[in-house]
Structures are given as structure tokens and as C-alpha cells.
């Protein structure tokens, strides 16, 4: 028997049921979320986009000052100051990582949050690529991914691919046209990394027919795109752009005079190709519905894409309006972030329960760790002896940031440009399941309170609850064990 629409909407297409928050009752309501979410104030970056940009600008100044001061300082002082500076950046990221949980757990727009997770993983970047990426990646999700998820795919692709986070992550900042003025002077050359992933991962898809020559020519077209290291804004520099026209997949880009519009035209054309359309539609359906998604759903999505020139809202609508999208519940395994988010939602966790844990009680009083953290102080040799970096680091909330790391999906740190795996067998196996059971028990102990497990089961899984789970929870020796069993149940891990 099919599950209720609202149950499927919350489990398969949302972030799970949260007692007191009504799940969508119709496809129109779900699509309406996309508009409403655009007016939602995000929990990250801390203080908003402008504050995040200010922090980046301040940090570049701080770093320049440190380097200046380093010329006069002894090597040890210089090193310690750099360590402090780096910890400051790590702490800023820690704040944002926790806020990302707050955002997804508290937002009433579950479908929108799931799309953010999907597109973040599709256009993967890693906050550990270099130190400043710790500041840039939260901003990337907030300004390049989220505002464009319901618009044209081409616009989303341009925003993501040309954002400083991506330009740094995939080494575009190291790519210089060999025949550009800079290339001739410095003898440096092309880096194909972004071009390759743009074709293989972001748009056309592996094995869709493009050649190594297309990759190389796309890399030539991309030259010129770089990042201003003072402001960390993307910019186009003609001094590193390879002159001349280059052919990618049969179309020519650029000429004697090059500009950013060549790059944008390339992304537009790639986004408009049938290979991209099929690749992306299939990937979206595979994310939400099943590792091998129903062919008719993918076709309906591709038709909508073609009709609207890649309006993503229309593509989502085609998926959601197809009956096959609502059949056979539980074919996908929630990846760790979504598993924990849905567990915290089931437990009605509020913002206070999701905060980081601040500094160690014995930490030095003037420590780094807040958004307005002080300039690292100059230190002498004596202090260096008992310098303890751990005392300067913000502590994590054990139920969120380190938990997803342990389960294999650290926030903003995918293992490769291909992102985290999105298949059942990766997440449901001995070690990972043992980790999930451990989390379920910890969450039940910390947050379960005196809930009645039977009511909890009904509120969080409704008609998706299976007989084995109902029976086992009834037999649980303690309330805590009952709650843990609900959170560890197969249907809570599936969607």
C-alpha cells in the first residue's frame, strides 16, 4: 500500500518529519517552497553575505600585516603567529559548519534544503584546499548555489563554476594561457583541471563523446578567469588569457581579443547540450528516487528541460508530478548529513542544541574563536613553550559536525570533485551502520528526554513505520532504547 503523500514528501523529497511542522500536502506546495526559501534568512554565513566578505577582506589584511611583521620577527614567533592565524580561520569554519546544521534542521522548506545538498555535491568544492577556502566555501553555497537552484541550469552552472571557491578548488587560478602576455613572460602554462571537470562532472558527463582536445580547448577558453587575492573576488584578466579562437565540441570561442563573455558562452552552450540535459536529469532522479531511477521519470524531466531551456523549477515539477516518483518507498539510503539532520528534526532539536561548544574552559582569555576575533598577538619564546593550539580551537558539538565526519560525510569536505557517493551500498554496511547505531544511542540519551517511544515512532515515521519496528520498539526495555531503535530503524535510514 502506498504511503501518504505527506509522508513521502517529508521522507523522500524532504529532510524528514519534525513534530509540529506540517509536511507539504501537494506538489504545488513543494514547488512553492522554492520561492518562499528565497526570502528565507540563511543561518550561514555568520552575519550574512556582506559580513562574510568583510571577514575575508579583513583576513587578507591581517595576513599581509603578519607577513610584514614576520620580516622583523624571529622564525619561531613568525611560525606561531601563522599557526594562530590559521586556527582563527579554522574556527570561523567551525562556526559555519554548525550553522549549516541549524539551517537544514530548522528550515521548514525541506525540498529546498535537499536541493541545496544535491547541487552542493554536484558542484563540489573542498574547504580544505587552502586556508582561505575555509572562509570562501560557506559563502559559495550561500551566494553561488542556493539563489540559483530554481532558475536556469546555465545560470547556476555559471555562478558555481566561476565562483572563487571553484576557481581555487579546481586550480583555475594556476592556469595561464601559454601565449598570453603573462604566459610568455613567466613561461607558465595551462591547467586543465577545471575544464576537465566542467565537461565530465558539471555538464556533459563522462563518456558522452567529448575528446581530450575538447578538454584542452575548453581549458584555453577558461584562461583569464582568476581570483583577486586581495578581495577574493573572481575576475577576468586579459593578461593571462590565451589569445585566439578555440573549438570545443564543434563550436568556436574567443578570438584575437578575449573576454569573460567567451567563458560564459562556453558554459551556456555546454548547459544547453542534450548530453548535459540527460546527465543532470538522471542524476537528480537518482538522488531522490532510486540509485537506478525510473526511466520514464528521467524522460519527463528531460522533456521539461528541453521545453524550458533548462528551467530547473520546471524540471523538478516534472519529477514531482510523475506518479513513478512516488512509488516504492525507501529505495535510497540517507547519506550521513541527511540521516543526522532527520534525526535531529525528529527530536525537535532547537538552535541552542546545535551550537558549537565554545573554547575549553581553561583556554586563554584573549583567544581567537569568534567572528570578530582579535588580531593574533606577537608572542615570545617563553610563551611558545606552553603554546597549546588545541586550547585555541572551538570545540565541536558531538551530535553534529564530528558525527557526520565519523560517518563519512564531513561538512564541505568531499573526497573528490565528484562529491560524496550517492548510492545505497556505500552508506549501509557494517562499519557505517555501527556508527549510525552509536549516533542513535547518543542522540536518544542526550535529547530523548521522557518521550514515549511509541508516540515518537508515530510522529517521525507515520505510516512508513514497519511492523518489525513497531514490535521491537514496544518491547524496548527503556524509553531511551526505544527512541534509539526508531532512529536506527531501516525505514529511518531509507527514503
Amino acid at each position: 500500500m502506498a504511503l501518504a503523500f505527506s509522508t513521502m514528501a517529508a521522507l523522500r523529497f524532504g529532510t524528514g518529519l519534525r513534530p509540529g511542522q506540517a509536511p507539504p500536502e501537494s506538489v504545488e506546495e513543494m514547488l512553492g517552497e522554492l520561492d518562499a526559501a528565497r526570502r528565507e534568512k540563511l543561518s550561514f554565513p555568520d552575519g550574512g553575505l556582506l559580513a562574510a566578505k568583510d571577514r575575508i577582506a579583513e583576513s587578507t589584511v591581517q595576513l599581509a600585516l603578519l607577513k610584514q611583521a614576520g620580516k622583523r620577527a624571529d622564525p619561531e614567533t613568525k611560525r606561531l603567529n601563522r599557526v594562530r592565524f590559521n586556527i582563527e580561520l579554522v574556527n570561523l569554519l567551525t562556526v559555519e559548519e554548525h550553522a549549516r546544521f541549524t539551517q537544514t534542521v530548522l528550515s521548514p522548506y525541506g525540498f529546498n534544503e535537499r536541493l541545496a545538498g544535491f547541487w552542493l555535491n554536484h558542484f563540489s568544492v573542498n574547504a580544505r584546499k587552502e586556508y582561505f577556502m575555509r572562509l570562501i566555501v560557506p559563502l559559495y553555497e550561500a551566494e553561488a548555489i542556493r539563489p540559483h537552484m530554481a532558475g536556469r541550469f546555465a545560470d547556476l552552472a555559471k555562478a558555481a563554476v566561476l565562483h572563487p571557491a571553484m576557481l581555487i578548488y579546481l586550480d583555475q587560478v594556476k592556469s595561464i594561457g601559454p601565449n598570453s602576455p603573462q604566459g610568455r613572460k613567466r613561461g607558465k602554462g595551462l591547467n586543465e583541471n577545471l575544464a576537465r571537470e566542467l565537461l565530465e562532472l558539471h555538464t556533459l558527463g563522462a563518456g558522452s563523446g567529448y575528446t581530450q582536445a575538447d578538454v584542452r580547448n575548453a581549458a584555453f577558453v577558461l584562461t583569464g578567469m582568476t581570483v583577486d587575492r586581495k578581495t577574493y573576488q573572481a575576475r577576468y584578466s586579459a593578461r593571462i588569457a590565451e589569445p585566439g579562437a578555440k573549438v570545443v565540441c564543434g563550436r568556436s570561442y574567443g578570438g584575437r581579443v578575449r573576454s569573460q563573455s567567451d567563458v560564459e558562452a562556453l558554459i551556456e552552450d555546454l548547459a544547453a547540450s542534450p548530453e548535459t540535459r540527460n546527465h543532470i536529469c538522471r542524476k537528480i532522479a537518482a538522488h531522490f528516487i532510486a540509485d537506478t531511477p525510473p526511466r520514464e521519470v528521467v524522460e519527463a524531466m528531460a522533456v521539461a528541460w528541453k521545453r524550458t531551456d533548462g528551467e530547473l523549477a520546471a524540471v523538478y515539477a516534472a519529477m514531482l508530478r510523475h506518479p513513478a516518483s512516488w512509488a516504492e518507498e525507501g529505495q535510497k539510503a540517507k547519506p550521513p548529513f541527511d540521516y543526522i539532520v532527520s534525526g535531529l528534526r525528529a527530536l525537535s532539536v532547537g538552535a541552542d542544541d546545535m551550537r558549537h561548544r565554545g573554547l575549553r574552559p581553561d583556554a586563554p582569555t584573549k583567544a581567537a574563536g569568534t567572528a570578530e576575533g582579535a588580531m593574533p598577538q606577537m608572542t615570545g619564546g617563553a610563551e611558545a613553550m606552553d603554546f597549546d593550539p588545541a586550547a585555541l580551537r572551538l570545540r565541536h558539538n558531538p551530535l553534529t559536525v564530528p558525527a557526520v565526519q565519523r560517518l563519512g560525510q564531513p561538512v564541505w569536505q568531499p573526497p573528490s570533485p565528484a562529491g560524496f557517493d550517492d548510492v545505497f551500498s556505500t552508506w549501509i554496511a557494517g562499519g557505517p551502520l555501527a556508527g549510525r547505531i552509536a549516533w542513535a544511542r547518543l542522540a536518544a540519551a542526550r535529547l530523548g528526554g521522557d518521550r514515549d517511544p511509541r508516540a515518537f515512532l508515530h510522529e517521525t515515521l507515520r505510516d512508513a513505520a514497519r511492523q518489525d519496528t513497531i514490535d521491537t520498539v514496544l518491547l524496548a526495555p527503556t524509553r531511551q532504547m526505544g527512541i534509539a531503535l526508531v532512529l536506527a530503524s531501516p525505514e529511518f535510514n531509507r527514503r
Partner: protein, 394 residues
Amino acid sequence: MDVDQKMPLSRRAFLTSACCVAAAPLFTSLTLAAAPGDKRLVTVVLRGAMDGLHLVQPYADPAFRLYRPTLAVSPDDGLIDLDGFYGLNPEAQALLPLWKSGELSFVQSVSTPYRNARSHFDGQDVLENGGAVLGDEKTGWLNRALSAIPSPSSRKAVDVNTSAALLLSGENRVDVWSTQTDLTMKTDETAFFERLYRNDPPFAQAIAEAEVIDGSTDTLFADQKRGAKTADIARLAAGMLMQDYRIASFSITGWDTHARQKPAFRAPATDLAAAILTIRETLSPAAWKDTIIVAITEFGRTVRENGSGGTDHGTGGLAVIAGGGIHGGRVIGRWPGLAEDRLLDGRDLMPTGDVRELAAAMLYRQFDISAGNLTNIIFPGLDFSPSSIYLKSV
């Protein structure tokens, strides 16, 4: 319109179809004892760029001391002579018996093809994905190797880690187990979870697997505390190799010694020695004979020490090989020399070997993977043949 027709047969998809045997459920076989004579491989990733010149010091080269006036240790100060040219850092002296018994070798001046940028992040990516350039491969070479092992019983691999490292990530099923993964349940509690999962096959299989591993981990650690130290990780890895796992991988961190390298080297060097010795102790003598441990790092460090008594990111590095069946007690690989004009960019040890060739040689030796698979799928573009010096040397 036909959407699926265009589905690319990607490298990834190809591997999926090629590896279905390896991906098949294997949990029942966990209860079987390991067949004697099965070859095993342990990879240890030394993260942070291990200073090979500090671990194994070319003390007989007079230039060495000039490059490293405070860091170089002389035999008079405790450096342990290995062969009249190289000496072992005393922080790793626990390894000396293995060197003497021929169960330990060092591989001099190897590197990945990664050049000129010296970023840990990118260097480790290349080390683990086995490609010729950054971004060439999306999966780990050790995962791709699983598809190419002829004997299905040798394909079971574990990543002893909190989350899967790139090295073992890919299409093939790999278990991830951490020393901190502990079901810590009484039998009656376990029964609830078994009941919860009994009618959902993948979950039933996963909990059965988890219980077996958890049980054997408990036995392995007996009354000792299950810590997260390197020795604990190594014990767990070896314990799983005594079951039906044949490949295990874990990491040792702490090698990024930009300052005060002498004291800073102590912890990771002690860890490395402890890892190797713990694996040897935990394995049966027969299993140790069939095991090779290979420890590799993303790149070496500068030949000159810096102003903080440390070293900076370099290129040519050192790999460590240990095992009960190797012809060890040797420093393998061509020594490039320390003359100014022999250094890469005037600063780094010149690489004289590809660390991927070393890894390929170990895979070839342990698992009979064909040279064709090694150079096409596992390390695309690598030059490897069965006459590799790394094969002759082990």
C-alpha cells in the same frame, strides 16, 4: 527520445560492471578462518610529507651535515648505522631488529608525478588517486586494484579510519572500520537490533557483519582499552587481516615538521615503528610471512633545513617496506646525490623513482595483478614491467 541510450559507459560504470564479483555479499565468509598462505597488503599513508632524509640519513655524504647543521644526527650522537652510508634516526630504533632480520627495507627518492606546487592537499590526492596529474582519476588506486585481483578471496579490503580515504574509495565495496566503532552492547541489546533488521536484507547483513567485526575487535583488544592511537589502529588492521580481509589501509599524521623537527619527529616516527611492530605481533607468523606493509607519503621535504629548525615541502621522498617474506635490510632505489646541481629546483631531493611503480610492484607480487591492468586501470600511463627494480628488491 531515448535518455538512457546516451548514458555514458564511464570508467566508473565500467568498473562497476567489471567488479560485480567483488561487490557480492561476503559477510558470511567473515566467520571463516583465513586460509593460510594468502597474501596480504597493508598501505600506510604518511600524511603531512614525511622527511625521509631525517628518518634514514645519508650521514656518509659530507654535504648532508652542511645542509642540515642542526638536524643531522651523527653516529656519535646516536644515529644507527644501517650500511655504512645511511643511518636510522634513533627515534625509530624500535625498527632495528626488523632491519637486521631482513624484514624491513627503505626505498630512496621516490615521488608521485606531482610537481612544482607542493600542496599537501593536492599531493595526497595524486598519491591516492594514482593518476599522472591532479584530477586525472576520481577513485583511489587501491580500490581500482580490487577489480583486477584474479582471486576473489583476496579482494576484501578494510579502511581503518573514521571515513573512507580516497585511496580506497571507488566502485568496489570496501569496509570502513574505526577503532572507535564499538557497538558496546550487551547481548540482549544486540538482540533488539537484530530483530529490528531481520526482514531488511541489507540491514540484516550489515548488522551481522558489524557484530562479527565488533566481536573480533573486542577479542583482539581483550582487556586493553580500545584507543585511537596508531598502535590501536594497526592492531585492528592486523586483526582483520587474520580474518578474511586481505588489504588494509590506514594513515599516520604528524609529519609536517616545518619547525623544531627534531622533537616534532619523535611522535610520528614512534607511531610508524609501533604500527609496523604491532602488525607483526598481531599476525600469526605464517600470516606475517605473507604480508607486505608499504608506507608512502605525498612528497619529501627540502634538503636544507629552514630557519625554524625544520624543513619545508619538497619532492623526492622515502617509502618504507616491511614484511615477513621480503628480502629486506636494504635501501632500495637510486640515490640521486646531494650535490647542488643534483637537487630539483636547487632545493629538493631529485626523485629517481615513481612511488606508483613501487605500489604496482607490491600489488603484482602479492596479488598477481597483470602488468596490463596495473598500467591501464590502476595507474594509467605508468611504466611498469615485471622486471621493475622494486620487484627484484623484495
